[in-house]
């Protein structure tokens, strides 16, 4: 078997090869992070086309064509930005388009450096888009390839600068070995320092003080905080995980099970209905007062546990990538304790039992709940059912509900019906919907002029969870039982290995909470159970097993990397973990900003930011146009020097001062002989030529001074004359004058 000889590549082709890999991996990374396969296919194929048409044959297209294309790309970016707003995704797509245009225009190292900068921007955009494990791993690979390209680029640029014709020189084997070692060492060092920073950087600083910057743009989807029937809302087939959930009992035992009933995680409470649209309604007690700062590891006890029942379940939830703006905290009903491991802005709607958070994209929190079924608050003597919002309740719906109840022997009249029968009544309505209606994900537009719920109940008799929830809520309201539509997620997919439920976008769901006693709200779900299970529970199979394996690994990533927080940090480093005083400083700053003085601090920050920005731009302009500026300011500088001279201040360096003094002494000596120095003639020649005109007593001192002047100008520092010699020569000229 013959041993194949490795292909010897030139400096240029070696660098070009590494650049191609860096371009392809960066584009792939962003497509992966943005979950945008169309972008991936289009950008990678365009990059390959640019490579084979322009880069490889070294045939950049004309500048005018490039400029026209750039104008088009910028125009397109402006149109997209106006349409969709500035976002990481649109920015990255714009950067990718620029990158591909630039690939057609690779002429000099400057063009190459622009390409590399765009690649760095794509890498950062990918991190800002997704924190998934696959993004992290691909980031590492793309980062390595980019590092490789950057290192080779600097060698390429140096050779290009010296002699572009020698770019095809073969890279020596030893050079490649050393370069690879350097590359691996840099990557290792970078990864090590990155991990150290990742581990020790104090968490809970900042918290969206600078808006959304740094947060992931890809946030929880599937869930919707309003329901518009007839439009696709919660219907998502995506299996992208959005939440991880673990359930523990009071003894700290993980009690999650594959066969256990689904866990409903509330996200939004929708109490207002109008023309098929369910929206958020503030509770009867007024309640939602906005968000306030909640330090990390602070327990909040919502005041809805009237029964003072001890908690029975603890849910540990990791929210993977929510919006840093006000977002719901998904909790099971009925929460009695909330505790976040990160400092967040926290808001609470007491009446609806809703929680909100702001300030972080990956929230890890713990919720303790009681079983609402077991709460039996006593009925007050003057208890009456509350006022029910009549919107959406038509006579037809009321009659329909009444018939269902009457057939089961339950009085549909709320005034005549005992309070205790409310639970049974709504269960009856729930099971009616589950058994008599068909579940479908196929969406169909609601006929014009018809109420969506009525259309579902009386005509179509098919629909998805939103229809069922809306129908159940209106039916129960029509018979005097207050009900509200809840949207959120259901947890039913349990991973035995990791002991956690994975909640995906496709687990978004809508259901109902109805008040069956004084402040006793229970969960009801009209969606047929069989269809519910089909939608929300995973089917067995090879693909499922592989997916489960991947998710098991990803769970470690989510817990260890994405979910690493102050609590994890405390567990590793203990309570005396180093934070360099940053945490204290952060809290103090936050406190000050919170007080009235905060306005001043904010103003100072604002002014500093403006000053910094302006100085930075000015600095860039000065760097860019320094030659022109130096020329412009040269006369002013000269005038300034003269003015300084008038005041006896000199801006010369000691070397310049010695030169100046010698020149002045020589000019003085020549003036004594009534000669004027001809600066077009070298001094030696001038002195030699003027030998006869020079006063004899001045010849030797002037020759000495001229010799010193030459030495001062041209000799190496060790041969340069000393200050004493110079002073002596100058004195020699002056003493000759006095003789």
């Amino acid at each position: 078997m013959s041993k194949s000889k490795p292909v010897q590549r030139g400096i240029e082709s070696d660098y070009f090869r590494s650049l191609l890999w860096a371009v392809l991996s960066s584009l792939f990374l962003f497509a992966l992070a943005d979950a945008n396969p169309i972008f991936g296919v289009l950008s990678i194929s365009s990059a390959l086309a640019a490579w084979s048409l322009s880069v490889r044959p070294r045939a950049p297209i004309s500048r005018s064509a490039i400029n026209v294309t750039l104008v088009l790309v910028i125009g397109l970016a402006i149109v997209v930005t106006v349409g969709t707003g500035i976002g990481v995704s649109s920015f990255a797509i714009f950067a990718s388009m620029l990158l591909i245009v630039k690939l057609f225009d690779l002429r000099s190292p400057r063009d190459h450096s622009q390409v590399l900068i765009l690649l760095i921007a794509l890498l950062i955009a990918a991190v800002l888009t997704s924190n998934s494990m696959i993004t992290g791993v691909t980031l590492l690979i793309a980062g390595f390839l980019l590092l490789r390209a950057v290192l080779r680029f600097h060698i390429y640029a140096a050779v290009f600068q010296s002699d572009p014709t020698s770019l095809s020189t073969t890279v020596r084997k030893q050079s490649l070995i050393d370069l690879r070692s350097f590359q691996v060492a840099t990557l290792f060092f970078g990864a090590l320092l990155g991990t150290i920073v990742f581990l020790i950087m104090p968490r809970n600083l900042g918290n969206s003080s600078f808006g959304d910057w740094g947060g992931q743009s890809q946030t929880v989807t599937g869930f919707n905080d309003e329901v518009e029937l007839g439009r696709p809302g919660l219907i998502s087939q995506s299996s992208t995980p959005v939440l991880d959930l673990q359930v523990f009992d009071r003894n700290g035992k993980n009690i999650g099970q594959s066969e256990s009933p689904a866990i409903y995680l509330r996200g939004a409470v929708l109490g207002s209905y109008e023309n098929g649209l369910w929206t958020y309604k503030k509770g009867r007690h007024g309640s939602f007062l906005g968000t306030h700062r909640l330090p990390a590891e602070t327990t909040v006890r919502p005041a809805i546990n009237r029964a003072q029942q001890p908690w029975s379940r603890e849910y540990r939830i990791s929210l993977r990538g929510s919006s840093p703006r006000e977002s719901p905290v998904f909790v099971p009903w009925l929460p009695v304790e909330f505790r976040s491991s990160q400092a967040i802005r926290f808001g609470y709607d007491r009446a609806n039992g809703l929680m909100f958070h702001e300030g972080t994209t990956n929230l890890n929190y713990r919720v303790r709940t009681i079983n609402p079924e077991l709460t039996n608050p006593p009925y007050p003597e003057d208890y009456s059912r509350g006022d029910i919002d009549p919107s959406g309740i038509t006579e037809r719906i009321r009659e329909y509900a009444e018939v269902i109840l009457e057939n089961a022997g339950i009085d549909p009249d709320p005034d005549a019906r005992p309070f205790q029968d409310d639970h049974a009544a709504i269960r009856l309505l729930e099971s009616h919907l589950q058994n008599r209606f068909t579940y479908t994900l196929n969406s169909e537009p609601v006929p014009n002029g018809q109420d969506a719920t009525e259309w579902f109940l009386f005509e179509r008799k098919r629909g998805h969870c939103e229809y069922y929830a809306s129908a159940l809520a209106l039916l129960s309201r029509s018979v005097g039982i207050d009900a509200r539509v809840i949207t959120g997620y259901v947890a039913s997919d349990y991973n035995e290995v990791t002991g956690q439920y994975i909640i995906r976008e496709s687990n978004a769901h809508a259901w109902v909470e109805a008040e069956v006693g004084p402040d006793k709200w229970l969960v009801f779900d009209g969606t047929p159970r069989a269809d519910f299970q089909q939608i929300h529970e995973r089917k067995p199979g090879v693909f499922h097993s592989l997916t489960r394996l991947y998710e098991t690994i990803e769970y470690a990533w989510v817990k260890g990397v994405v979910g690493y927080d102050s609590e994890s940090r405390r567990q590793i480093f203990g309570d005396i973990s180093p934070d360099f005083g940053l945490l204290k400083f952060g809290y103090k700053l936050r406190e000050r900003v919170g007080r009235s003085r905060g306005k001043l601090v904010g103003l100072a920050f604002g002014i500093s930011a403006i000053v910094f920005g302006v100085s930075f731009m000015l600095g860039l302009a000065v760097l860019r146009f320094r030659t022109i500026l130096a020329r412009l300011f040269a006369p002013f500088s000269a005038i300034f020097n003269v003015l300084l001279g008038l005041f006896g201040v000199s801006r010369r360096t000691p070397h310049e001062r010695e030169l100046y003094e010698l020149e002045r002494a020589i000019a003085h000596g020549l003036a004594m002989s009534e000669l004027e120095r001809d600066y077009s003639t070298p001094l030696w020649t001038f002195l030699k030529r003027s030998d006869e005109q020079l006063q004899p007593r001045l010849r030797a001192p002037l020759a000495d001074a001229a010799g010193l002047l030459y030495r001062l100008q041209f000799a190496s520092p060790k041969d340069a004359p000393s200050s004493g010699e110079i002073a002596q020569a100058i004195a020699g000229i002056h003493s000759s004058e006095n003789r």
């Binding site: 060698i155 640029a157 350097f182 918290n207 600078f210 760097l623 100008q713």
Partner: protein
């Protein structure tokens, strides 16, 4: 950091030149590191990453921020460390010709035990007024730890003269272009630039018999050479290898071979003193023309001499490359400012005379050995142009 033309006439007049002939050893005088524009941008991006990570508690951004810091440290410290242990020496620069690219070589030795060096650029420090341009700095793609290497830079001098190259820099922005590190090595070297070689029309004059033909093409004389001169009887002491054995066998007694002394036609190039009113470009052009004529005469197998008594230069005609070098060296240093010294013509017996003047009111006759710098149409090859530095302002504007 000075590099100015020194007194061109200094060595001719016997005054010691301040620029040493020999090359001193290089020593690093200063080292520095400056942040590049890309580096400023990089630091800002790193800061933004930090702010983003803290603001959003994005753990991957924390990691990326750490990585960015590592890149910064690598860029500044690790690669700079290897440069600190670099020893560089500029090799002596050979005589350069104006208008032609000359290479400058450097020797490098890395004393670093661990870190290799990549993408080093070596650049001479040349002042703006010095008429020398670096056409390609020296580059070292890679230097392994404890290894040696060489680099070659290219420069072009536009004017003849003698210049000081006091120092050079070794710089590198490897690995990431964030920080440009450079070390300045002081090593005073002189660069002697001989005049341009102008593309001349064929000079028929050199091949025509002139007025001193009888002197130039006289009878051959006995002496060292390759041509046969004659035979003479052997006298004791003659080297044996000179004995003509065949002739000695035919005749009685020993005979030895004698060679004829080689006599090339002699040519003296007389550079006449320029008048004060002659533009500097024409004076320089006259020097370049004289130099080119010296070469042309040498190429035509003439023994060449050079005559410029007003600049104290009197070289009798002599053959060989060393004579040409001597004349070129003198021309490199020739002072072109006005001189009050006399400008007598060379003695008539010294050889055929080529007279070169800076300007002439009459039309010069190259066939008669008369050349005027201001009449390039008479001697410059038709398809060629004068170098820019030898063009007067009116010629350059045309």
């Amino acid at each position: 950091m000075t590099s100015v033309p020194t007194d061109p006439g200094a060595s001719i007049h016997g005054v010691r030149s301040p620029i040493p002939e020999s090359v001193s050893t290089a020593r690093s005088s200063s080292r520095n590191a400056t942040l590049t524009l890309a580096g400023v941008m990089y630091i800002l991006v790193t800061l933004f990453l930090a702010v983003g990570a803290i603001n959003a508690q994005n753990n991957l951004l924390f990691w990326l921020f750490g990585f960015a810091i590592a890149i910064l440290i690598t860029s500044g410290l690790l690669s700079g460390n290897a440069m600190m242990r670099l020893h560089v020496r500029g090799l002596p620069i050979a005589v350069a010709r104006a208008g032609e690219v000359r290479t400058v070589r450097y020797q490098l030795k890395s004393r670093s035990r661990m870190f290799p060096l990549f993408g080093l650029i070596l650049r001479e420090e040349i002042q703006r007024e010095t008429p020398v341009d670096i056409t390609g700095p020296g580059v070292v793609v890679h230097l392994s730890p404890k290894a040696s290497g060489t680099a070659t830079a290219r420069m072009i001098a536009h004017k003849r003269g003698r210049y000081a190259l006091p120092a050079f820099r070794v710089e590198s922005s490897f690995p990431f272009g964030i920080i440009r590190k450079w070390i300045r090595y002081e090593q005073l070297r002189s660069l002697i630039v001989v005049p341009h070689l102008l593309p001349l029309k064929p000079i028929g004059f050199l091949h025509q018999p002139g007025e001193h033909a009888e002197e130039q093409f006289a009878k051959p004389k006995r002496g060292p050479g390759s041509e046969f001169f004659g035979l003479r009887p052997y006298v004791p002491g003659d080297p044996r290898r000179k004995i003509a054995w065949k002739t000695s066998a035919r005749r009685e007694g020993l005979f030895v071979l004698e060679h004829a002394k080689e006599t090339e036609p002699k040519v003296i190039v007389w550079l006449q003193r320029p008048s004060d009113s002659t533009p500097i470009e024409l004076r320089e052009r006259a020097i370049a023309l004289a130099c080119s004529l010296v070469h042309a005469a040498s190429d035509a197998n003439c023994a060449v001499g050079f005559w410029a008594p007003w600049a104290s230069i009197r070289y009798n005609a002599a053959p060989g490359i060393s004579q040409i070098k001597k004349i070129e060296y003198a021309l490199a240093h020739l002072q072109i400012s006005s001189s009050d010294k006399a400008d007598p013509p060379p003695p008539t017996r010294s050889g055929r005379l080529i007279r070169v003047s800076s300007s002439s009111t009459e039309t010069a006759n190259p066939l008669a050995g008369e050349f005027a710098a201001d009449q390039p149409q008479l001697w410059l090859r038709a398809d060629e142009q004068l170098p820019r530095s030898l063009q007067t302002s009116s010629e350059a504007s045309q």
